[in-house]
Symmetry: C2
Subunit: 321 residues, 2 copies
């Protein structure tokens, strides 16, 4: 694929962690850009980025990296996007597209849009992909393969130029291996609140609760973690800065979904107290169907990951005793 015509002559990656690094590697592999520049705050990240070939050139400041870029991708934590946009404003090329990879969209638009000069197109985006690792070592070129990238184009901007910029970014993400969806920023924030933000919050929360107990030692929690807990710790190992920013910037949707979650949990609590087994059984059966749909949609494998670390396995998935 590397002899395909590049979609952009030059792209700039601001921030070279898991997502920025993976975009660089994916874009190189598929020849999506004539040239890739990048910037990172720390010397160490810049060094690793060049060693791993995440970008062709690396700069200390975002403003240097975006010079002449046709596509600027902001890959910093959400809380840093406003200041970064202010910094690059004078250096942006006319006709360029600015996008991001943030897990929240309405607040990001609010922070970034004021800094976008006339003639530059802001097309917010969110590649729904990640791992529990972060930093310049963490990226890999097929992170986006078969994952979804959500574009949330600005509703009030409807010029043909803008529509063209959106289509081109759509093509870029497909080139990275993603499937692409478009939706309103507010709706995005609600969807991600339930599929990502609240799950992360409750994972962080239960790991914290376990850590605080007096009656159960930390050593016990660790030894018996294979019974379910370890999967929560994996999620709760995600980058703290990134996640703090997500909750601060999507608080309305998170609080709304959290209150639904708590309401439902209270009903389960009541069913346990009153030993209403039917309520529990009905829910526990219903949730299995959703799991099957996720596997059928190719968004997870049906390997028995829950009991991971063994080589052999059986020939059937859902046999019941």
């Amino acid at each position: 694929m590397t002899d395909a015509k590049p979609i952009y002559n030059k792209i700039a990656l601001i921030g070279l962690g898991l997502i920025g690094g993976s975009i660089g590697l994916a874009a190189k592999r598929s020849g999506l850009a004539g040239q890739i520049s990048g910037s990172a705050r720390t010397e160490e990240t810049r060094k690793v980025a060049m060693e791993r070939g995440l970008v062709d050139q690396v700069f200390t400041t975002a403003a240097e990296a975006v010079a002449d870029a046709d596509l600027v991708i902001l890959c910093t934590p959400v809380g840093a996007l406003g200041p970064v946009a202010a910094e690059i404003k004078p250096a942006l090329k006319s006709g360029a597209t600015v996008t991001d990879v943030g897990s929240v969209k309405a607040a990001v638009i609010e922070a970034v849009q004021p800094h976008i000069p006339e003639g530059v197109h802001l097309v917010p985006a969110h590649p729904v992909a990640g791992t529990e690792f972060s930093g310049p070592h963490a990226g890999f070129p097929d992170l986006f393969e078969n994952r979804w990238c959500i574009l949330t184009p600005l509703a009030q901007t409807v010029s043909p130029d803008y529509a063209g910029a959106v289509d081109r970014l759509d093509l870029f993400w497909r080139g990275c291996g993603s499937q692409v969806d478009r939706m309103d920023a507010k709706h995005h924030d609600l969807v991600l609140a339930i599929t990502s933000h609240v799950p992360h919050l409750i994972a962080y929360n239960i790991v914290g609760t376990a850590d605080d107990l007096e009656a159960v030692t930390q050593s016990e929690v660790i030894k018996y973690s294979a019974s379910g807990f370890r999967d929560f710790t994996r999620i709760a190992a995600s980058d703290p800065t990134m996640w703090r920013d997500i909750f601060l910037n999507n608080s309305d949707a998170v609080l709304e979904m959290l209150s639904r979650f708590s309401e439902d949990l209270t009903a389960l609590q009541r069913a346990i107290r009153w030993k209403d087994g039917d309520v529990l059984f009905e829910l526990f059966s219903r949730t299995r169907a959703i799991r099957r749909s996720i596997i059928e949609a190719g968004q997870d494998s049906d390997e028995p990951d829950f009991g991971r670390g063994h080589a052999h396995f059986r020939d059937s998935d859902d046999a019941q005793d």
Copy 2:
């Protein structure tokens, strides 16, 4: 290892699902038993058990299977243990050991102990291992490898015979690949409530909440599940009967831990509402340390499972941007 001296001449497995089947395969592989009989309620399970060689002989009733057995392992859901114990009572050999694999212990002892004849030793046990699959196809011989098995011997029974029976069962579980711990049944139930039962409950709960939303479609939940949600659906795909029984039989400890969880979650909710980023950042950093301890203890791998489905990976784990 198959030429080692068997620990028991004959063992009987009552129930041939994930755990029962895995014990049969592990015991055979390591020559832990001279002979293995088993029983299962359904014709289909009995057929699969023989085809897969989970046991040497299979019976329709538990009473037939336990005849002459030196070790009887009850591997049914916790709610069925009382009736099964009543059924096998007249058929138990004098001097035999009866054990189980239930995820709760105090309630199990209460249900089973009244049916244990004099001269038979009840040694409750809980192998802390499993996958999200169930049934006679689901077992594999190394399910217990490097996992912990918790014995909760009866405090009031202190005869040398009983102590010998506990030691022998300890040896058996080590032969299956487990590490073995001993503790009081009540403490076990508290430890498992936080490491396993409450995590499963909140996983089931959030999958149910997502399924009930009007503002977010099920198709959206499925498409964007790679952002965290899918890991919860994996846990929420566990066997409904088994889990209903666990919550009904460990309600006190689960409700206690659940109230701690909810209290902590309310504090996070408040931090989000008041945009107190420091509270969030402090928790999100602390939980990472627990994750590291679990990996160091060999209870999980540090492969980037959260972004599963890619072949290559990077050379460092926790580099920060």
